[in-house]
Amino acid sequence: MEKVYTKTQGIFQDVVSGFCPGCMHGTAHKLVGEVVEELGMLDKLVRVEGVGCCGLGQSYVSHDVIIAAHGRACAVATGVKRCSPDSLVYTYQGDGDLASIGLDETVSAANRGENFTVIFINNGIYGMTGGQMAPTTLVGMKATTAPFGRNPKEHGYPMHVCELLSQLTAPQFIVRTAVDTPQNVIKTRKYIKQAFQNQIDGKGFSLVEIVTTCPTNWGYSAKDSLTFLREKMFAEFPLGVYRDKDKEEA
């Protein structure tokens, strides 16, 4: 028999991740590893990560990691890419990092059309700090800082990062995707590959938003969290390609 699927070299072979059962951070990590391994650029890969659960990836991935100050990953990645244009640079950020404290850095980097890739994990809640309300928390969804559910009059509405950034002129590729089924995993791998290929071709800013689950802080089992993801999260955050300049020009 021939081996058709094995663990990517982009993550350590003997390390068990620190993520909770059912957390899709692991899926996102392995997809990045698989894509860059396929592109043959693992030795040039630089990861700039934000603060939060994504920080657990520092002991999980086998390539170089810089941990930026909270929210400043896009600013640090700008510096890394400009100083070392041969490196393949990506930021890996959650919604509390990219959409809350780091929104300014994200929008500015996108507006400048910086030539790196952003992997944005959106699970609608702050994970590591204990389930506080994030900018992407759904209306009515309970969080430790909104025990009666998110009230739009008090807390505003969920923030749509892809829609927001697709209003700018400079970004090359903006997509929202998910990894809840094998089909979506394969689709997401294709999008991540396109995002990295855009960087290699020097086309500019690419952002892949992955809508994921947080079973621990949502208070569901891993299986039930998939139902919530499909019924509630996808209704608020519709999947799709929001910007692809290649197709617009063609």
């Binding site: 957390c23 094998p182 891993a222």
Partner: protein, 70 residues
């Protein structure tokens, strides 16, 4: 004769069951034994039905599944 075979790294399994629900042939199930972290890990319950499609491995967040086909 099975068309495929899966090998599950039991120490990496966290029992999220994403592989169990994504298997089109219902080959996988949560076993009775637990690993050193205390998770009851997934085992291949019907290995003869496996077609080696690797859908379980695509879904596994911990990359704990290796798949052979042929």
């Amino acid at each position: 004769m099975a068309k495929g075979r899966v090998e599950i790294a039991t120490e990496f399994c966290k029992s999220c069951e994403y592989c169990v629900i994504s298997c089109p042939k219902n080959c996988l199930a949560v076993g009775e034994k637990v690993n050193s972290k205390g998770y009851p890990y997934v085992v291949s319950a019907n290995p003869d039905d496996c077609i080696g499609c690797a859908m379980c491995a695509q879904m596994c967040p911990e990359s704990a599944i290796e798949v052979w086909r042929g």
